[in-house]
C-alpha cells in the first residue's frame, strides 16, 4: 500500500461518506465506533435523507418521505445506540372499506373496526404468523454481506461465505418437512394467489397485497411479491410511529453518529470521487474543496457512484449492469397540513391514529398498478396514510394536524411530463379518495406538498426516485444486489464502497446496508 493511502495527513479522514441519509449515518456510526475518523458529506442543509422531516408550513413538521418505522432490527438498533426508537408501541393498520366495515389489523389479529370478529381472522392469523416465522429466518441473511459463490461451491473460502445460507438450510429443516416445503413453495410466489387461497377478496386481502407491493414496481399478481411481504416482516412486522415523529429517527441516527465521533458536514455537494492508481483517495466538492480519505463510501446508486469516480475506471460489464438496474420509482408522497383533525367515518379516535390503508381489495391493488406500466396515472391509487399529530400533537402548532400519504403506483414521469395539471390531478385524486372516508377533508387542507418519484430523485438522489434505490425483486437481492458482480459493497476502484439502499439487504429505514458496508470495509483491512 502506498504511504499516502492511509489518508492520515492533515485535513484528511480515514473514510469519507457520500450522503447523510440513515444508511450513510449508520455506516459512520459503525466506523467511528471502531476508532476511524469519519466525515459524512450531505448535499442538503440537514442530514437524514428520506427519513428526515420538513416544514411545508410554519410550525408543521411532516415526515418528508418515510413516515413509519417498521423494519429496524432490534439488535441493529441496540448496536447503533438507537434502541429508544423501538420503545413506542406498535400501531395497528386500518384497511378502510367502501361500505364502512373497516378492518383493523394488529399483529396476527384482524377484526372489524366496530369490534366484531372478521370471518377470515383465523386464516389471516395463521398466514401472518407463518410469514413472520419465514421472514425471521430470511432476516438473518440481512445482517451479513451476501453469500458469495467465488471459486465455486466446493471451495473452503466459499464454504465460509456460505455459512449463512447453510444456517438457513438447517433452520428450514428444523421447521419440519411440511413447513419447509411450504417455505419453498411460496418463497417466489405472488401475494394475490397466496392471500386469495386463504380468504375472500376485500379490505383485509387488499391490505396484505398493498403491503406486498409497497415501494416496488409490482402488482400483487407479480411473482416475487410474497418475498416483498416477508422482507417487511423481517424484524417482526411491528409498525411504529416513534416518539417525536420520524424527525426523531434521523435525529437519533445523527446524534449517535456525532456521539461516536463522526463529523457531519451539510451543504456539501460531491461532484467527483478522487481516484489515483485505481484507488479512491477522497472527494471533490462543488465549491472546489477536496477532502482526502483512505476510503470512500457512497450512499448513491451504483451508476451514480461510478459516474462520480469516472466511468472509465469500471469494466464494461459492470457499467452495463449498473445502467440496467431496475429502479422505477412508483410511490408519490402527499403531505397535508390540516386546520383540524379529520373525522373518519366509522372509526374511533384511537384507531384514526393507526396506519390507514385505502386498498379495498387485492383486485383493486392490481388495477392500481396497471397504469404505471404505461406511464399513465391511476384513477384509484392505493394509499397508506398516517395522521402523526393524533399521537404527537407537538408536530404541528395551533391545533393543526398533518396527514402524510404514500400514493401508489405513480410513474416517475408520466407521459406528457409532470406539469401542474398532472400534479394537481394526483393531489385531487388522492383527496377525493380520502374524502370518501374523511368527509370535509378538502376543506381542512391549509397546505399540500406533493413529491413525485421524479421529485424524490431530484431531491434525495434516489435512482429512479425509487424508495429502495433498486427494485426489491428476487433478481436484485442477495448476491444479485444491486447487480451480479457488484454485490459485496466493494466496487472495482480500491477503497470505494456502496453503502446505500441499493446494496444488500436493501431498502427501508434499517441502517443495514450502511452498517454492513462499513463492516465489510473494516474486514477488508484497507485502512
Amino acid at each position: 500500500m502506498p504511504p499516502d493511502a492511509t489518508g492520515a495527513g492533515k485535513g484528511a479522514f480515514d473514510v469519507v461518506l457520500i450522503g447523510g441519509g440513515h444508511n450513510g449515518l449508520a455506516a459512520a456510526i459503525t466506523l467511528a465506533r471502531k476508532g476511524r475518523s469519519v466525515c459524512v458529506l450531505e448535499r442538503a442543509d440537514r442530514p437524514g435523507g428520506m427519513a428526515r422531516s420538513s416544514e411545508p408550513a410554519a410550525g408543521a413538521h411532516v415526515p418528508e418521505i418515510a413516515h413509519l418505522l417498521y423494519n429496524l432490527d432490534a439488535r441493529v438498533a441496540r448496536e447503533l445506540g438507537l434502541g429508544l426508537l423501538l420503545k413506542s408501541p406498535p400501531i395497528p393498520a386500518v384497511s378502510l372499506a367502501p361500505d364502512g366495515r373497516h378492518v383493523v389489523i394488529a399483529g396476527d389479529a384482524a377484526r372489524f373496526a366496530d369490534g366484531t370478529p372478521h370471518p377470515d381472522a383465523p386464516a389471516f392469523g395463521e398466514l401472518n404468523a407463518r410469514l413472520r416465522r419465514f421472514a425471521g429466518l430470511l432476516g438473518r441473511l440481512s445482517l451479513k454481506s451476501p453469500p458469495r459463490f467465488d471459486g465455486g461451491l466446493a471451495s473452503l473460502a466459499t464454504m465460509g461465505e456460505m455459512a449463512a445460507l447453510a444456517r438457513l438450510g438447517l433452520d428450514l429443516k428444523r421447521l419440519g418437512k411440511h413447513e419447509m416445503r411450504e417455505f419453498l413453495r411460496i418463497l417466489l410466489g405472488n401475494a394475490h394467489d397466496l392471500v386469495l387461497d386463504e380468504m375472500a377478496d376485500g379490505p383485509l386481502a387488499g391490505a396484505i397485497c398493498a403491503d406486498a407491493v409497497r415501494g416496488n414496481h409490482v402488482g400483487p399478481r407479480s411473482p416475487g411479491t410474497v418475498f416483498n411481504l416477508m422482507y417487511r416482516l423481517g424484524s417482526g412486522g411491528a409498525v411504529r410511529l416513534p416518539e417525536g415523529g420520524m424527525g426523531a429517527v434521523c435525529g437519533a441516527f445523527e446524534q449517535a453518529a456525532r456521539a461516536a465521533g463522526a463529523e457531519i458536514r451539510t451543504g456539501c455537494d460531491v461532484v467527483r470521487i478522487l481516484v489515483e492508481n485505481d484507488a479512491a483517495k477522497g472527494v471533490a466538492l462543488r465549491d472546489g474543496t477536496t477532502i482526502r480519505a483512505g476510503a470512500v463510501l457512497s450512499s448513491a446508486g451504483p451508476l451514480q457512484t461510478m459516474t462520480l469516480a469516472g466511468i472509465g475506471h469500471f469494466d464494461v460489464e459492470a457499467v452495463r449492469r449498473a445502467r440496467n438496474l431496475r429502479c422505477k420509482g412508483t410511490v408519490a408522497k402527499l403531505n397535508l397540513v390540516l386546520g383540524a383533525a379529520p373525522e373518519i367515518t366509522g372509526l374511533r379516535g384511537d384507531l384514526a391514529a393507526g396506519r390507514l390503508l385505502v386498498a379495498p381489495s387485492a383486485v383493486a391493488v392490481e388495477r392500481a398498478f396497471n397504469p404505471v406500466k404505461y406511464g399513465e396515472l391511476p384513477a384509484e391509487p392505493v394509499i397508506e396514510a398516517v395522521i402523526p399529530t393524533l399521537t404527537e400533537p407537538s408536530l404541528a402548532t395551533n391545533g393543526r394536524h398533518i396527514l402524510s400519504a404514500n400514493v401508489q403506483h405513480i410513474a416517475h414521469t408520466p407521459r406528457g411530463g409532470w406539469g401542474d395539471a398532472a400534479r394537481n390531478r394526483i393531489t385531487a385524486t388522492v383527496l377525493s379518495q380520502l374524502e370518501r372516508h374523511m368527509p370535509g377533508l378538502k376543506g381542512l387542507v391549509e397546505a399540500a406538498e406533493l413529491l413525485t418519484p421524479a421529485d424524490i430523485e431530484a431531491r434525495f438522489g434516489a435512482p429512479g426516485g425509487h424508495w429502495h434505490h433498486a427494485e426489491m425483486g428476487i433478481d436484485q437481492i442477495l448476491t444479485l444486489r444491486p447487480a451480479n458482480g457488484l454485490a459485496h459493497y466493494r466496487l472495482a476502484v480500491h477503497g470505494l464502497y456502496l453503502c446505500g439502499a441499493s446494496a444488500h439487504p436493501g431498502g427501508d429505514v434499517t441502517g443495514l446496508p450502511g452498517r454492513n458496508s462499513a463492516r465489510q470495509l473494516l474486514k477488508d483491512r484497507i485502512l
Binding site: 459463490f149 461451491l153 419453498l184 413453495r185 394467489d193 409490482v218 411473482p223 406500466k373 433478481d475
Partner: protein, 545 residues
Amino acid sequence: MSRHDRYDAIIAGAGHNGLTAACYLARAGLRVLVVEKNDWVGGAAVSRSLHEGWTYSNCSYVCSLLRREIVRDLELPRFGLQVIPYEGGASFTRDGDYFAYFSDHDALRREMARHSPADADAYARFSQTVMRQCRFIRPFLLRNAPDPASLRPRDMGELLFLIRKAHGLGRRELAETLRFWTLSIGDFLDEHFQSDLIKAHLAGSGIIGTGLGVYSPGTAYVLLHHYMGDVDGTIGAWGFARGGMGAISNALAASFQEAGGTIVTGSGIDRFLVSDGRVTGVALENGDSYAAPVVASNMDVKRTFLKHTDRKHLPEDFIRAVERFKIRGSSGKLNIALDALPDIPAAPRGAPFLRGDMHCSTSLAELERAYDDWKEGRWSAEPYFDMLIPSQIDPTMAPKGKHMMTVFVQYAPYDLEMNGVRSADNWNDDTRKAFADSVFDKIAQAMPDIRDRVVHAEIRSPWDIENEVGLTEGNIFQGELTFDQLLFNRPVPGYAQYRTPIAGLYLAGSSAHPGGGVMAAPGANAAREILRGLGKAGRMPDHAA
C-alpha cells in the same frame, strides 16, 4: 355387456404423455391398457379433419420440446414421425413494415440492423445467455426433481447432481442463472434491445400459455421453456410434425400397439378404484371397469383428484394443495382452412420467413395491455398471436393449392366476464365469434384479404379446449409454469415424483415435472418411477448420462 379385464398397468388418457408412459411400460414387458374418453387418441397433440380435405393440428401446432431420447427409445420415426424444421418468422407492424426472424445468423443480423444496429450487436449476447440456460436445464428434464425436505439417498443424490451442475456453471453464471429464472422477459429484453418491434417479436415465447404478462417476474423462464427443445439437434428450433401434431400421438400409439399394448377409446374415466389406500383399477363412464395394480393418470392433477377420485382416499392437506394448484386458462385457438395463401403486402412474395411463425404485436406495452385485459376476464382487445401456415411446408395438411392456418391466441380467459359476471358459461357461439373477429381484425393488419380467404374456421375458447381435451380451464401446460409450481413444487410439494397419496396411482401428465409442452418427459419419467416401484428399474432405458 360391460368388460372387466385385468392388466399390469392402466393409463388414463391417451395424450402424448400417457402414450409415452404406456410405450415404456409395454416395452418393459407389462400388459398395458390405455383408456381414452375421446374416439381418437392424442389429447392435445392431435390432427383432425373438421372440413373435408383439410387437416388441422387442433391444439398444439408445432414441435420442438419432444425429447430426442424418447423419440429414439420408442422408434417414433419408424412409426411415421417426421419433424420438418421451419425457417424463421416475422412480426408485422400496422404501417406496412415487418421484422423478420431468420435462422441464418447473417440474415438475422442484417435484418436486426435494419431496425436498430445496436440490437444486432446485442443479439449475440442475448442468444448466448438463453442458450447457456437451455444447456443448463436440459439434463434435468428426464430426471426426478429432488425433494429438498427429504433425506432419502435418492433425493440427496438428485440434489447433489443439481449442485454439481450448478457448480459447473461458475460463480458469475450461477448467480446469473438465479437472476434469469426470476426475471421478467420484458425486463430481460429491455436490457438488451431498443427496437419495440424486435422486443415484441422475441417476447411472445415468454407468455404463451401462461397467466402472466411480459413484465411479470418469472416469464424469462417461460421463454426458456419454449427454447430448450430442438429439431435435429438445433437447440431452440421448432418444426412441423408431418401430418400435423397428431402424427406424434399416432406414432406413439403404433409403437405401443406393436409392443402389445391395448387402447380403448370412446369412454372416459368415471373414477379411480381404490381399496385400503391402494389403487385397484379404473371404472369407466360406460360401466366398464378394468383392474390393475398400477394406474397412471395422464389427466391434470385437479381433474385426477378433484373429479375422479373419492376424497375419502386422500389426505385433507393434499386436497387443499391440489385445489390451490393454479391451472389458468389463458389461450384460445383458431384453425383455419384457406382457399389460397393470403396476400401479405408488406413482405416479398414467397419470402422464407412467411413459412414460420407470424405475429402482429409491435411492442411490449401492447403485449402487457393484452394481459391486463385477461386479468379482468376479457379477451385481449389487441391479442398476441402465434400464426403459422404449415401447409406451405407440409402439403398433406390441405388440398393442392389451398392452405391451412393455425393461430394460437394469447390471451383468452376461461371465466369470461359478461355484464359483471365471470363464468365459463359466457362462452357461446356469439362470444366465440366476437373473439374470433377481434383476432381476424388484427390479422388483417398483415393480411388484408384474410377474411375472403377463409373456407372454414374452428374457433376454440379455453372452455372448448377443456371440454374436448379435458385440460382444466384449457390450460395448455396442465398448470402454470411459475416457480411455486416447478421442480419439487410440481404439482404438490412432497408429491413431485409422479407418486400420489394413493399407492400404485401415478401422475404421468404435464402437471408433473418438468411441465407442459409436447415434451413427453413427464410420461417417460412416470414410467421410470412405475418400473422402479415394481422392482423393474433395469427395464427402463437409462437417460441419466
